[in-house]
């Protein structure tokens, strides 16, 4: 059913342990919630945890009785499960332990007191990272409704000592490294592998933390999902759910555990039941997917529990993923546990709290902390009673804010529908899928559009966590400091200018760093115009380190742990959120400058989508030149621009299709703007044609076809028609004969004079003067038309003509004037210009003197062209050009 249903996946339980989740997830039907691992995005949660919880349900016999006097109180939870969180609080209240052990990296023990500080507001995450390699990191996210967080707060409020008892991050991070083959570059690619391997831990190391969520999430998710073994592995939760008659394990978990109201009966009973079920599961299925690493972690946890027992006696409470409970209960020889822990790889690790968001808790964002509906869970956890009524009221409030009419009657009907649906589906209480169905049918008129808003704002939610200022620095800062040292680029408050020569390795590195920081909103350097050289290999920056930039760096920490990964993640997010097509093209350019190769595919995809959906040819035409520029610039930098070229070609195709219809029915301003677009596209297509591969070889040909269509269509404004003919003429696609014919048509008496003037502007505007100088036929046509313009219309066309001709070089204007004064059309034909002569020159070429120019011309044109130049016509034309130029100069001097 509804994909939306969010359920929590049970797996999530082990936040820390991520493994659990994974296991579960595999099984799940695809769209469902996922994975469970709640925890860790990074860490792959071990599949186990998730599973455990699930089990619990079945076997509810629970007796607490089992707990022998000297036994620790083992509270198996599902990470991020509000039901679990509530149960944990009740159990802690009832048991009043002397110490609380929580599944999590012990390095974070020192950070625990921060959780009590004013400035700490969940969702937050514990971040572990390798000191000398900030890209290797793992997160343990905690939401307000996470059982671990609840336990932490409970202990702090009651002055009870708290410890994390999982395997230290120092090892788990090192595990990741081994998997990745120690090659830092391999991290990303390998992540999923690692994640799986180390799943238990949560360590995933992806560089990702930073950047691409994808990577990060893989860690977590992958455990479960990606690997082939995963398919083989049985999902215990699904087995339990199926036994209970549910087709969807997620929902079953919700019904049985999460939706239990607060405090009925024995606070310990659910945990005992869970433990029993997990025990049965582990017996049947072995230790699940966690493999050896799970065993190692559990050995470590057992040792920790034992140490705590020695210190505090029997007042020990343990909060961990339910999957681990049977393992912790098991009696194992201390020596055997120690042996397991021997010789683990190590890496120097550091920990801190970082702010987290609900969005990142949810799978939607790709970080995959493991739950689909953090907002819904926070709601379930936060409300005292009547969760469905309160939730639907909240939904109604949101829809009202968005100007949708939703009355109290709607809420009433939605509640009734949700409850009836739940009854029909045999659920004890409406869950997210029932309420969502009810909201869709009652409040949203069956439409998914407003519903998407509800899902985005409420089901996921915009909650942003905060951490106190006293929390240790984020790894991004360290990475930046490292880069600054390496590139010898010190942050200084004093403004200074920096010239970079991109051909040098260090300078190129500096440029990339500054561009990346710019993308992250850390405005340390500002690009300025280079003095002197304008080559693409030079950049000038104005640098100034302001104190608040440190804050910006800290804020940017949410994007990743290294500058590269953070900038990549930020660029991807920006691309997805960008409004206008031009923004995306600009972003693509910046990505190339900052060399964010990994972000480029996403940006390109977004670009292609925006281009496909943008109906305004103007936007497309504007975007094209920037794209082509990036393409050429990418070439300079040696970036792979294949994708870019594809997109550019696609964009060009769309422009070709859309341009002719877009050019009709335009007013003068619109036509002028469109003419500029036509020019821009023409230039871009020219450049593109040089770069493109075989697939788009005919691009220029097709563009010429479009120009031909434009030139011949009467509804297209004159200025565009004229320009199209001119561009075709320049490219040699149209003979002069043909151009003259078209001009004759455009200037024929039937055409309203302003149209004709516009055509002239399009045709000879912008440096077209020489054309008139050299083809007298054209000049004669203009002349004849101009003299034929009725007096009444003349004042209308005068401004247009003036605009056209005043843009010419003075020399050209003068020459034209002289030609016109002498009277048109005497020579005729191409040679006419020569024959007509210009005052002060002979009537015909002086062959000898013209020949004298040829060696220089050859030199200028390159020796290849000698052949062509041999042609008499060409020689004459070239001579004419030279003569014309000379004439201009003379004219200039004369003036």
């Amino acid at each position: 059913m509804s994909g939306m249903s969010i359920s929590v996946s049970p797996g999530g339980a082990g936040r820390l342990t991520g493994g659990a989740a994974r296991g579960r997830s595999d099984d799940e039907p695809a769209g469902r919630a996922g994975e469970p691992d709640g925890m860790g995005r990074t860490e792959g949660a071990d599949g186990a945890d998730g599973r455990n919880e699930g089990d619990g349900v079945t076997g509810v016999d629970g007796a607490l009785g089992r707990r022998a006097a000297a036994q620790p109180l083992l509270l198996g939870v599902r990470h991020h499960g509000p039901g679990s969180a509530r149960a944990v609080r009740a159990a802690l209240e009832a048991a009043r332990p002397k110490v609380v052990l929580i599944e999590g990296p012990p390095e974070a023990d020192a950070l625990i007191p921060l959780a009590a500080e004013e400035g700490m507001r969940p969702p937050v995450a514990l971040l572990a990272h390798a000191v000398d390699e900030p890209g290797r990191s793992a997160f343990w996210p905690l939401a307000e409704f996470s059982p671990e967080w609840v336990a932490l707060r409970w202990a702090l409020e009651h002055g009870v000592p708290t410890r994390f008892m999982d395997l230290p991050a120092t090892h788990t991070l090192a595990w990741g490294r081994d998997d990745a083959g120690t090659d830092p570059d391999a991290e990303k690619a390998e992540t999923s592998g690692d994640g799986r391997g180390s799943a238990g831990e949560g360590t995933a190391e992806h560089p990702a933390g930073a950047g691409s969520d994808g990577a990060g999430s893989d860690g977590a998710g992958s455990d479960g999902t990606g690997s082939p073994e995963a398919d083989v592995r049985v999902d215990p939760l699904a087995v339990l759910a199926e036994a209970a008659g549910y087709d969807d394990p997620e929902r079953w978990w919700e019904d049985v555990v999460e939706h239990r109201g607060p405090g009925q009966g024995d606070a310990f009973a659910p945990f005992a039941a869970l433990e029993e079920a997990m025990g049965a599961l582990r017996e049947t299925y072995g230790s699940g997917g966690g493999g050896d690493r799970d065993l190692v972690r559990e050995a470590h946890m057992r040792l920790q529990v034992r140490a705590a027992q020695r210190e505090f006696g029997d007042g020990v409470a343990v909060v961990c993923g339910a999957w681990h409970v049977p393992a912790l209960r098991r009696k194992a020889a201390v020596a055997a546990d120690r042996a397991l822990l021997k010789g683990l790889p190590k890496v120097k690790a550091d920990m801190t709290w970082v702010p987290w968001t609900h969005r990142r808790l949810s799978r939607f964002s790709g970080y995959g902390a493991g739950i689909d509906a953090p907002g819904w869970y926070a709601h379930l956890f936060g409300v005292s009673d009547r969760p469905v009524e309160r939730w639907l009221t909240k939904v109604a409030g949101l829809l009202r804010e968005e100007d949708r009419i939703v009355s109290s009657a709607h809420v009433i009907e939605a509640v009734r529908l949700a409850e009836t649906l739940a009854a029909m589906r045999g659920r004890p209480l409406p869950g997210l899928s029932e309420t969502t169905d009810a909201v869709r049918a009652v409040m949203c008129d069956g439409s998914d559009v407003p519903l998407a808003l509800v899902c985005d704002r409420l089901v996921v939610g915009d909650v942003l966590g905060e951490v106190p200022e006293s929390a240790p620095a984020v790894p991004l800062q360290r990475d930046l400091a490292r880069l600054q040292r390496r590139l010898r680029l010190k942050p200084e408050a004093l403004e200074r200018e920096l010239e970079l020569d991109l051909r040098k390795e260090t300078d190129a590195g500096r440029s990339r760093l500054l561009h990346r920081l710019g993308l992250l909103g850390v405005g340390w350097g500002e690009p300025t115009d280079s003095r002197g050289s304008t080559g693409t290999f030079r950049e000038t920056w104005r640098l100034r380190w302001e104190p608040e930039l440190s804050v910006r760096v800290a804020e940017a920490g949410v994007w990743g742990t290294t500058v590269l990964s953070a900038a990549t993640a930020k660029a991807e997010a920006d691309a997805v959120g960008a409004q206008a097509l031009a923004d995306v093209t600009a972003l693509a350019e910046r990505c190339l400058l900052a060399e964010l190769t990994d972000a480029l595919p996403v940006v390109m995809r977004v670009l292609a989508e925006r281009a496909a959906l943008d109906a305004d040819v103007g936007h497309l035409a504007q975007a094209l030149p920037a794209l082509v520029r990036s393409l050429r610039y990418g070439d300079v930098r040696g970036t792979d621009t294949g994708a870019l070229a594809e997109v550019a070609a696609g964009l060009a195709e769309r422009v070709f299709v859309g341009l002719p219809p877009a050019c009709s029915a335009l007013d003068a301003d619109g036509a002028e703007e469109m003419r500029r677009h036509v020019d821009a596209v023409h230039t871009a297509v020219g450049l593109l044609g040089d770069t493109l591969t075989a697939g788009h070889a005919d691009l220029r040909l097709r563009w010429h076809g479009v120009l031909r269509v434009l030139s011949g269509r009467d509804t297209v404004p004159g200025v565009i028609r004229g320009r199209a003919v001119r561009l075709l003429l320049d490219d040699g696609e149209v003979e002069q004969e043909q151009a003259a014919r078209l001009m004759g048509l455009a200037l024929s008496p039937g055409t309203p004079p302003p149209d004709a003037a516009a055509w002239i502007e399009g045709f000879v505007g912008g440096g077209g003067g020489m054309l008139l100088v050299h083809d007298e036929r054209l000049l004669a046509l203009v002349d004849a038309w101009l003299t034929g313009v009725p007096a009444a219309a003349f004042t209308d066309v005068l401004p247009l003509l003036r605009r056209t001709f005043s843009a010419y070089e003075p020399g050209v204007r003068r020459t034209l004037g002289e030609l016109v004064r002498r009277g048109p059309g005497r020579g005729g034909g191409i040679t006419g210009a020569t024959a007509a002569g210009v005052p002060g020159f002979a009537a015909d070429l002086d062959q000898e003197r013209a020949d004298a120019v040829l060696p220089v011309l050859r030199l200028l044109l390159g020796s290849d062209d000698v052949q062509d130049v041999d042609d008499v016509q060409d020689v004459q034309a070239a001579g004419t050009a030279a003569q014309g130029a000379l004439g201009e100069e003379l004219a200039g001097v004369a003036r």
């Binding site: 709607h410 009734r416 029909m424 049918a441 009652v442 439409s447 299709v657 219809p661 697939g695």
Partner: protein, 386 residues
Amino acid sequence: MSVSVEPTSVAPSQNHSAPANAAGAEGAEALRPHAEDAFAAELAALAAQDDRPRPARWKLSPWAVATYLLGGTLPDGTVITPKYVGPRRIVEVAVTTLATDRALLLLGVPGTAKTWVSEHLAAAVSGDSTLLVQGTAGTPEEAIRYGWNYAQLLAHGPSRDALVPGPVMRAMAQGMTARVEELTRIPADVQDTLITILSEKTLPIPELGEEVQAVRGFNLIATANDRDRGVNDLSSALRRRFNTVVLPLPETPEAEVDIVSRRVDQIGRSLDLPAVPDGIDEIRRVVTVFRELRDGVTTDGRTKLKSPSGTLSTAEAISVVTGGLALAAHFGDGVLRAGDVAAGILGAVVRDPAADRVIWQEYLETVVRERDGWKDFYRACREVSA
């Protein structure tokens, strides 16, 4: 999802109690029997084994109604054929809505089985799908409320005997499910007649100083066309009385190809078109084009497209293919080819001559032109688009 398998023509042998007006035509088969007749056996089997609580005057429990629509196998082995192929959620919400006292509004583009679902819901819930008001621009208030037998009225004055109850009024009196087809075609003032019926559950008869009160079990299913919204858009007062369920288009290409080829086959037979072999590839192509343009993205999910203004529903795909078949059979070599469907597709896609034409050409140039094995199709489309 959407579309139902249309078993309509498949079940001629089922017993159907001849309606009264079919008098004399003893033994003649109705062209299209009502759902409750066509599937009487299934309904009876369900009723026999249904031990769940039933709302007042329901023939089946809500669970059984959902099973009737979605298909399944009963404990005794009776196989219930699926009437609606689509998300379970939709049927569940629809049935649940009927079980509350809210009315049900089925929305969807043409060809998504709205009427079909509404008929089967009424048949399963009340055992009678004939209490039907067909909405048109000319539907008068009397069609929804009641009319008069004017001879009686003139002879004896207003009385219960002179009153001719409409379908909705009969449903109210008997606690049955009434159906209103094409609700948004009905003029707004006539639509609003329903407000009292749905909120107060009474139908006043001022001429007699009486009223008809709805009996428990009464409910109403309306269908409306998404694309017609705005023709006679529902007032928000009326809209508020309905729970809305949107019936989606088929989810997977296979499902749609299946629906199209099955329907084309049925239609072709009923029109006595010569059988055309091997049309399946062309059908697949038509469905692909329709789906891609409708969804605004290519099937490989890599290229976004603009969507034209037409609905491009499955029903239209069916008619394009049928038209192509007729062309191929009567004027071609008997094999359905790209050229036979190209013109039909163009007509279905380009509804707005300016905007849609650009969209279509963009699609041809950016998608079709480069697709392997689509050269003939590209050429045929270029030919008809030129």
